[in-house]
Subunit: 532 residues, 2 copies
Amino acid sequence: MECTSLWRTTAHQKLLALAQHPYDLTAPGALLADDRLARYRCSSAMLRLHYATQRVDDRVLDALQELADELALVEQFRKMRRGAVMNRIVGQESENRQVLHTACRDLFHAEPAAPAATAQAREQLARLQTFLADLGSGRLDNGRGESFTTLINIGIGGSDLGPRSILEALRSDMLPDRQVHCIANVDPDDAARVLGGVHLPTTLVSIVSKSGTTLETLTNEELVRAALVRAGLEPSRHCIAVTGANSPMDDPERYLACFHMYDSIGGRFSSSSMVGMVMLAFALGYERAVAFLRGAATVDREAEGADIRGNLPLLLALIGIWNHNYLGYPTLAVLPYSQALHRFPAHLQQCDMESNGKSCDRLGHPVAGPTGPVLWGEPGTNGQHAFYQLLHQGTEIVPVEFIGFHHSQYGVDLEVQGSTSQQKLLANLYAQMVALATGQQSANPNRVFPGNRPSSLLLGRQLTPEVMGALLAVYEAKIVFQGFAWNINSFDQEGVQLGKRLASRFLAAMAGSPSGVDSLTETFLTKMAESP
Amino acid sequence: MECTSLWRTTAHQKLLALAQHPYDLTAPGALLADDRLARYRCSSAMLRLHYATQRVDDRVLDALQELADELALVEQFRKMRRGAVMNRIVGQESENRQVLHTACRDLFHAEPAAPAATAQAREQLARLQTFLADLGSGRLDNGRGESFTTLINIGIGGSDLGPRSILEALRSDMLPDRQVHCIANVDPDDAARVLGGVHLPTTLVSIVSKSGTTLETLTNEELVRAALVRAGLEPSRHCIAVTGANSPMDDPERYLACFHMYDSIGGRFSSSSMVGMVMLAFALGYERAVAFLRGAATVDREAEGADIRGNLPLLLALIGIWNHNYLGYPTLAVLPYSQALHRFPAHLQQCDMESNGKSCDRLGHPVAGPTGPVLWGEPGTNGQHAFYQLLHQGTEIVPVEFIGFHHSQYGVDLEVQGSTSQQKLLANLYAQMVALATGQQSANPNRVFPGNRPSSLLLGRQLTPEVMGALLAVYEAKIVFQGFAWNINSFDQEGVQLGKRLASRFLAAMAGSPSGVDSLTETFLTKMAESP
């Protein structure tokens, strides 16, 4: 399959022309025209995308469909799911790997798309299930007859943000006797704070690193192992490893158990592999963690539909491209109206920006226009009392992806001033969509809202484990589709290497390296050290 | 004083010309030239700004000095601190208020800049000190002879993000027997989660709302009062209010104590008023909370210096303007290399974007160019394993403000592979500054780093309460200086009103309003309700 980029398509020219006159959401009746609120919805099994408040019309959607077809976006996704080597740069040294995070959850269908990878995933899941059953039955305890009640997850980036944000989202589903904490930062205060708040004798420590060599993670592992020893405990009875088979960490002598991840799964896409599942299944119980996988698997199959109006992640991807490449908006805000999702934007920030923050295409050429946007976000309604001022009246226009649910998780609510909190939450969410779109005229220039600020809404019934899986898979597929459209490799991260190399140089200098230090490093350290 | 905007200055034309050829950080030896690393530092009492990795040279700094002088930025700041009515739009209905958050901490000098406002602040602080002493001595207990050990803060936006991020930053300084939780979101799950984890009989609840009418906050107050009643407790013995004098919440019948805030202090600038101090002094003890104020007060005075090379917040503001208005970068990342500051970017996001996300200037005219940028950030090193890929190799260029400290807070550290965690943290921080600036050439196009991505570093010795106060005041002053330069009113928030009004309309419709519902609201609700 010869891939090209959106800038070389026929549809690109059409979209450039259409972007000269995008749909005017501020015109009287604009949101009600052509049954727009009903027609600009896209349903999947557990989520619905409402996009009538985007600056699109049927001509734009038709052109985006053409773009998707010309670029073979769905065909590429199908090949990815079936094991094509998508993680590469043609003609250059590159990772040259399959991309099979979807195989980890392709468990609910008689014929998985990538049978070998799914068989590996099943094997790891079976081992996890046995391990958890042994914890539950007491067959596996701390050697003093006490059960493990607490898990500390040590990982960073892909081994932290995804699982942590999902766990935060599903805290209402946690087993009552389980606690989970996370250590990510090499800042020693991160570990100190967590260690100060746990009972070590009943604590498991899961160390997560695909390579088994991530410096931050190994350092935090040593900090925690030292704390275990100080507490008179034997670390190998408390530590488990999630790592690549045969990595330096794949060592049953040092770990109570070792679960495996594979080269075909990148860190930022690893939440549904053992990286996420060890933590989630410990916290939620095995069955609810599997429900999370089921939700993701459902979306993965839906994402193979050719019609963009019926393929939710593909449509979300294309609307994103419309806003970013054609209307010229450099950032994207993801704003969940759900406190449980408070860390989900941080995970998406990683997953999106590390995947698509690229300037070299899959053929080794410079890209011809903007690739991944800056993604950021915080939960509403909190954000309304913070940065929404800029969304409404600032000079930077920020497209918004709202996320919301009809029902709360805990169901504890109260009517105040005639409405429940959940009603207030949804009323605010809907109001923001309308306000951003329609704006407001006023004789007071400081009270003018220009409107035409695009947004869409991913709406679900309730944030359950299965819906969380669906939500994650929607965004993972969206990011992959956008990478295909820009013809970039969304699965490597060469951009992190230079910093690592320079950090080693600074560390060597700090440690008084005998082999000498270059003058920039030395001068830099000197000038920093003189600070107050 | 007749104020103008940067677009109307002579310096503006010079800066436009200079921006055609900004300093090339990728040239060989560029970081070492002209003793740049030593000369491009700006010291304040507790923090130093390192800005050699910005794309500035002496000509740019001279032009920025001219800009500051032409716009009378320091003179405006001095007038603000002395009680000028800075919160207004000339010729339009507007708030017409003084801006005196600096007066809350102007306690350490014989002649405060705004004596009346500082006297008010002193009075409230004295009341708080007595209240806390009564809690400590047991004079004020829960009526069952037990001390209050827990505080729940209920507030949103300015009554939440600032105090919460500061408390998170200073958790290592908390009194050992005190706990603090926060409820902000109208999402009922936010309150449910907090209430599930506290012992109500020994819990104080601080409700924070200047107007006494913030819907989210009142709703959460009712949820918590109902929980207190269910637990057999008398709410008026557990609830305290932080509110404007004579607001509906200023009611000793319903509250154990009422502390006051004033119209001259906007929500997002209220962390050093009673809004922040009640929570901080409960958590840290009164003395350490006062140390926080002392740090802020020191910076406020330093910010009156006329030389931009010696006025840290002013220089930070002007470099931000150089990057945003002249080099054209639409966002700003604030990246603390300190896990304790993990919520500080969220507070700055509020403080900056709500202040300066404006399109109407102080004369009621449309602004002539970009005002406040999109601000976002997460702590390093975590971010290095997440979105830094885009910072290094993406098509969107993001200026960065790093924050770091020489020493950790807890001092619990370990040498692993020849260096401590704190050394690794700083090495990574320095390495990122160099990598972003210098870039890297490579024969592999996927390993090319273009460089010339600007950053600076605010570096301190250790994050103590006093340094936290200084850090907050640096950013508050920076935001104010930028607003002056754009000639906008940084102290109102008209942009939040439309959403509020439309939310009321949606709520009325949900409650089956008898007065009829407009067709957009009705159709919108219908189409949303049909979701899965």
